[in-house]
């Protein structure tokens, strides 16, 4: 028999209360873990999905909307710009690479991205080069005949079950323009995993308005300058144009992170309130248990237990509840974060499964135990101060 056995027996003796208290601590801890992991996952998702191009040129409007739509496939597309704008940008001597992009409709929720083979070019400065794992890229050039070929992001292939040589379309009006899968991309960890890539010629022919238009539309042009020193001039130059804007993806990403920072601040307040509520619940549980056990505490003291021994037993019980709740909460929090991240990712949100073990888990467990110690302190002092002779008789 040791103080640990005594605590274990006490926990068993109040099984339902003990389990409920462990669950309440676990819920609080899992909320903390899930919030931190999801916030971290969203940040990492934005960083992983960030483009290697320094500028995005599109129609006048919100730069955040432009970047979120073109890079992360979120938000609605900005208005179109003429294909001629791309031609001008491409021939600017300060530009090393320019890639035209047109955002189309969607197939089973996966957006069409019309572009050229340049989108997949393996420039040395690119971190993620979309390359095919099976099949090949589409071939048609913007000025050529549409090939109606599609290259699928890896998540599109997995979720739709489409594979090379399959033909597909969505809606009766598109039946005349079925696309043929010619390749599937390797996983990139970016929004490209959830996109269907087609050639611009195919896109223009599939779209009723652009089919008849003489000025072919684009959503944006991704731009990489030859020298970073030209970036500011290019940015300013295109922004003063009457119908164009140039957005800096890094600046937009900073704005997004600033917004996330605000969300984090609110979360910290909410989680602090949760910690206080959980701590109070644990305190009330331990306090009422100690009041109920005054006679047993007096009996232990009469059997020779020292004051510090009964103080230690109450503190140990409080810490045991907090530890069990903390461990359950860490496991539950990871499960919650995984489900949350999967749901977000399924809806096209930039999020990674940030489930790696690090300082978060031991720190959270330590905080839970510290909370348990704090909540058990007053009940422990109550046990410490229990007068033996007064409490030995039946209460």
């Amino acid at each position: 028999m040791t103080p640990v056995t005594v605590v274990w027996r006490y926990l068993q003796g109040r099984f339902v209360t003990s389990v409920l208290t462990v669950v309440s601590v676990g819920l609080g801890v899992s909320l903390v873990i899930a919030s931190v992991l999801l916030t971290r996952g969203i940040k990492e998702g934005f960083i992983a999905g960030a483009t290697d191009y320094n500028l995005i040129v599109g129609a006048k409007g919100s730069p955040t909307q432009l970047v979120l739509n073109v890079v992360f496939r979120m938000d609605a597309p900005t208005p179109n710009i003429p294909f001629s704008a791309y031609e001008e940008i491409r021939h600017d001597p300060r530009v090393e690479a320019a890639v035209p992009v047109a955002m189309g409709d969607a197939y089973q929720g996966f957006r069409y991205v019309a572009t050229t083979e340049a989108y997949f070019a393996p420039f040395s400065w690119r971190r993620h080069v979309p390359a095919v794992s099976t099949g090949r890229l589409f071939r048609s050039e913007p000025s050529g005949k549409p090939d109606y070929e599609a290259v699928l992001g890896v998540d599109v292939a997995r979720r739709t079950g489409l594979k090379a040589a399959d033909r597909f379309f969505e809606g009766e009006e598109m039946a005349a323009y079925p696309l043929t899968v010619v390749g599937v991309l390797r996983r990139t960890g970016t929004a490209d995993d959830r996109a269907i890539f087609i050639s611009l010629a195919s896109y223009w022919e599939m779209n009723e308005i652009s089919r008849q238009a003489t000025v072919k539309p684009l959503t944006a042009v991704l731009v990489r300058p030859r020298r970073l020193s030209d970036l500011t001039a290019l940015h300013r130059g295109w922004n003063v144009a009457p119908d164009l804007q140039a957005a800096l993806p890094t600046a937009v990403l900073l704005n997004v992170f600033n917004l996330l920072g605000l969300v984090e601040d609110v979360l910290v307040v909410v989680l602090a309130v949760v910690a206080i509520v959980v701590g109070l619940y644990l305190f009330v549980t331990m306090y009422s248990a100690t009041l109920e056990r005054r006679r047993e505490i007096a009996t232990m003291r009469a059997l020779g237990a020292r004051r510090v021994t009964v103080l230690g037993i109450v503190l140990l019980e409080s810490c045991a509840i907090a530890s069990l709740g903390g461990l359950a909460g860490i496991l539950g929090g990871h499960g919650l974060a995984y489900v949350g991240a999967s749901l977000l990712a399924a809806r096209g949100g930039p999020v990674t499964h940030a489930l790696a073990l690090g300082a978060l888990q031991p720190l959270t467990l330590g905080a839970a135990i510290a909370l348990g110690t704090l909540a058990g302190l007053l009940p422990a002092v109550l046990a410490y101060r229990t007068e033996v002779a007064e409490n030995l008789a039946a209460l």
Binding site: M1, T2, P3, T5, V6, R9, Y10, Q12, G13, R14, R295, E296, T299, M300, R301, A302, L303, G304, A305, R306, R307, V308, T309, V388, A389, L392, A393, A394
Partner: protein, 233 residues
């Protein structure tokens, strides 16, 4: 185990409690009381005569307002509280009127608990020793039972086993039969006397139960022990 000298000696022991009007109420005034080693002493007295207070003072669970108490040569009134607790754990067994078993613990664990607070018995021997004592008291088949699963007589026998767990030379019993029916009371009292006599222990029983009064080797009246017999306890 028989020791030389008295098991306990009280000299000029008084005990007062604070009362609502800010004053104090003296409930015990023992000029001199000597408890001979070995054998059974019974102290009789009506309710409120200070019997339980006297036992609590000898056990060291409460401190006298004045006077000295010596138990087996150790002046417990001079010991700091932590040492008095340790002394009580190792030298004094206490049987309560209402058993005071811990509800969440089995009979075996209740007995082992007493050993946990003392250093007299090595930890590896706790289980075997508790089992042996309970066996001796006829509870060998009830080791894993919780107090709620035992009869009142069995509960009191577990309490006796717990009091004997650390092989203390002095056993105090506060109205050990008051919560039992007459037949069970006789049975429990016989067990208590037998195990104390076998072990050469000093047994001090306080009771107002007629059945207990004739069981000891020596009978004292609380009215003579306490100089303030009219005081309530």
């Amino acid at each position: 185990m028989t020791r030389a000298g008295p098991a306990a000696t009280l000299r000029g022991v008084t005990k007062s409690f604070p009362v609502a009007d800010g004053g104090t109420l003296q409930v015990l005034d023992v000029e001199r009381l000597e408890l001979p080693a070995a054998g059974c002493t019974v102290i009789k007295g009506r309710s409120g005569s200070g019997k339980t207070t006297l036992l609590n003072l000898i056990a060291g669970v409460s401190v006298p307002t004045g006077g000295t108490i010596v138990v087996h040569g150790t002046e417990i009134t001079a010991l700091p509280e932590a040492r008095r607790d340790r002394f009580r754990a190792e030298q004094i067994g206490y049987v309560f009127q209402t058993f005071n078993l811990l509800a969440a613990f089995s009979a075996l664990e209740n007995v082992m608990l007493a050993m946990m607070f003392a250093r007299g018995v090595p930890r590896r021997l706790h289980r075997a020793r508790a089992r042996a004592i309970l066996d001796r008291l006829g509870l060998g088949a009830r080791l894993g039972h919780k107090p709620g699963q035992l009869s009142r007589g069995e509960q009191q026998r577990v309490a006796i086993a717990r009091a004997l767990a650390n092989d203390p030379p002095l056993v105090l019993a506060d109205e050990p039969c008051a919560s039992l029916d007459a037949a069970t009371a006789r049975e429990v009292l016989a067990v208590l006397l037998a195990v104390c006599r076998e072990g050469g222990k000093t047994l001090l029983v306080v009771s107002h139960d007629e059945a207990v009064l004739g069981a000891g080797d020596r009978l004292l009246d609380m009215a003579q022990v306490n100089g303030r017999p009219e005081a309530g306890a």
